[in-house]
Amino acid sequence: MEIRVEKIRKEFDLYPALHDVSLKIESGELIALLGPSGSGKTTLLRLIAGLEQPTQGRIFFGNEDASYRSVQERNVGFVFQHYALFRHMSVLDNVAFGLKVRPKGQRPPKAEIRRRALELLEMVQLNGLEKRFPSQLSGGQRQRVALARAMAIEPKVLLLDEPFGALDAKVRKELRRWLRDFHDRTGHTTVFVTHDQEEALELADRVVVMSQGKIEQVGSSDDVYDRPNSPFVFSFIGESASLPVKVEGGVVHFHGAPTGLTAQRDGEARLFFRPQDVSLIEEGPGMTGPVTSSRRLAGTRIAEIELGSPEKPCHVEVEVPLEASASNGSILSFRPTRWKLFY
């Protein structure tokens, strides 16, 4: 099921949570909504689910306008961060709930409901635990019950709100891989919300980066990491450094001195680069300053260099070879090898 979000606007008490957001999600795609808290990613997910009503704009499921359909009518599988299991029901009853509450005509017979619930539990690898209550399960198991429960209604789309947020790091990694497998097997259109960029980059076909109620960039992991289209995306995804620069006569100047980088357009700009995308230089134009601190990071060393005037210093972190002398106070010169200017 393809989903189209068209110019959605959502206000809470006159405070806008989403500004005219548009997004197209392809059928069968696994897509991540990534952003810091308050970026509107959960609001967007809840709007797609029908748990919130848009102030303006429309949402299409396929060719149908679903904007004002209730959550019951939308037939979406929704998985909550804190599982939201029914704690007075056994695991089996939790999974069967969506089928049991169907109106009489559409409800499968009892034996059939039970068979399907057990089948789903097998799919999420929880066979044998159907008689337990949610309080007797671990966090990872509960989340899989929640997923099986959402799948029971044969949803057109699967929506997950920070599905791994409440789990510890190891279980989170396992479930991540498991969800990818699960998606590849079932082929549902899946949208999940996360604030963990590693999770989004590893898991999703496409990542939607959001900030302050707007979509900043939509693209594959490579797109958003290697070709960020805004200062926000550049600084939000991965490590980065930024410096105020001036382009004059096609040459990028920092603090009045040429940096050896060239650009097409003159004017004030911000220069962005990643710590690993620099090379140390002995001579020629570049950026030079004293090392203020350095730390060992696995196979490399990260040095913090102070640039600019002492009154208004800029600190940037760059990766230096282990053998380079980067003790505090030593002077280093470097030049970015991959970089981007935002005017």
């Binding site: 689910a49 029908g50 748990l51 209730s70 959550v71 019951q72 037939n75 979406v76 599988g77 929704f78 909550f80 804190h82 939201a84 299991l85 029914f86 704690r87 007075h88 029901m89 709930f97 969506g98 509450v101 169907r102 209550f133 949610p134 309080s135 007797q136 929640a146 429960r149 959402a150 029971a152 209604i153």
Partner: protein, 286 residues
């Protein structure tokens, strides 16, 4: 399964880093003995000394039976009514924000604070045939004050906070997410309430019910003003005990008290049993 089995095993004491198990248990037992068990034992002893035939004669006295029936039936009806409206009141207080919510929240506790006699007199004034509400009901042939209905009204007023205050915190804990989950699975509002929310509240509702019931059975102050106290019609058992005492018929008084005690104990025991079962059933304990 291991967790379920180890929880089922009985422990003499739970290991705890804080010492004082012996001291606190000893204090609790001594305290309960002094203020509850010894007086009750004296009551049982006193009525036992009457002998079986006297005991039965006093119990089966028609006026006593009528008073017991009125006490327990009105308390039961009032507790049931309180469960329904107490849950509604708790729902409103937990789930909605409206001007004056804090004031309403405080008003719920008033029956705890005012002397029950005052509550009884106030209710009588309102529900008497010439009172504010009573005068409206009288033409319809509904008589509240000076009838069993009046007793129910007084017990509802007295018992309401017990239900609200036991259900409210549990309701607060049930997250909105659970309701949204039910809705996303296709459950209607009605199905969500009756299949998801209310079952989750059952243990708390039972606690509130048993507290309101127990309070209603023992209530004296408010009832005697509104009931009219007509023997066989609106005379409650606690009042009959006082009447027998005033007649220096201590035997009859203790017998009525003992029977009330036994019935109350059996009812509370049964409710506790259902509650323990529902707590296990609904997965509150591992």
């Amino acid at each position: 399964m291991t967790s379920a089995r180890s929880a089922a095993r009985w422990h003499w004491k739970n290991p705890s880093v804080i010492p004082g198990f012996g001291l606190t248990l000893g204090f609790t037992l001594a305290y309960l003995t002094l203020i509850i068990l010894i007086p009750l034992a004296a009551l049982a002893w006193r009525s036992a000394s009457l002998g079986w035939s006297d005991f039965l004669r006093l119990v089966l006295d028609p006026r006593t039976l009528a008073a017991l029936r009125i006490s327990f039936s009105t308390a039961l009806i009032a507790a049931v009514v309180n469960v329904v409206f107490g849950v509604v009141a708790a729902w409103v207080l937990v789930r909605y924000n409206f001007p004056g919510r804090r004031i309403v929240d405080a008003v719920v506790d008033l029956p705890f604070a005012i002397p029950t006699a005052v509550a009884g007199i106030a209710l009588t004034a309102i529900y008497a045939p010439n009172g504010m509400i009573g005068s409206l009901l009288a033409p319809l042939g509904i008589k509240v004050a000076y009838s069993p209905l009046g007793i129910v009204v007084a017990l509802i007023a007295i018992g309401l906070p017990f239900v609200v205050r036991t259900v409210q915190p549990v309701m607060q804990e049930i997250s909105q997410e659970v309701e949204e989950a039910a809705a996303s699975l296709g459950a209607s509002r009605f199905q969500t309430i009756f299949r998801v929310i209310l079952p989750g509240l059952t243990p708390a509702i039972l606690t509130g019910f048993s507290l309101a019931l127990a309070r209603g059975i023992g209530e004296y102050g408010s009832v005697i003003f509104i009931a009219g106290n007509i023997p066989f019609v609106s005379e409650i058992a606690p009042l009959l005990i006082v009447i027998r005492l005033e007649e220096f018929d201590y035997g009859a008084a203790t017998v009525i008290a003992t029977v009330m005690l036994i019935i109350s104990f059996l009812m509370l025991f049964l409710i506790n049993f259902i509650q323990a079962w529902s707590r296990r059933r609904f997965g509150y304990e591992q």
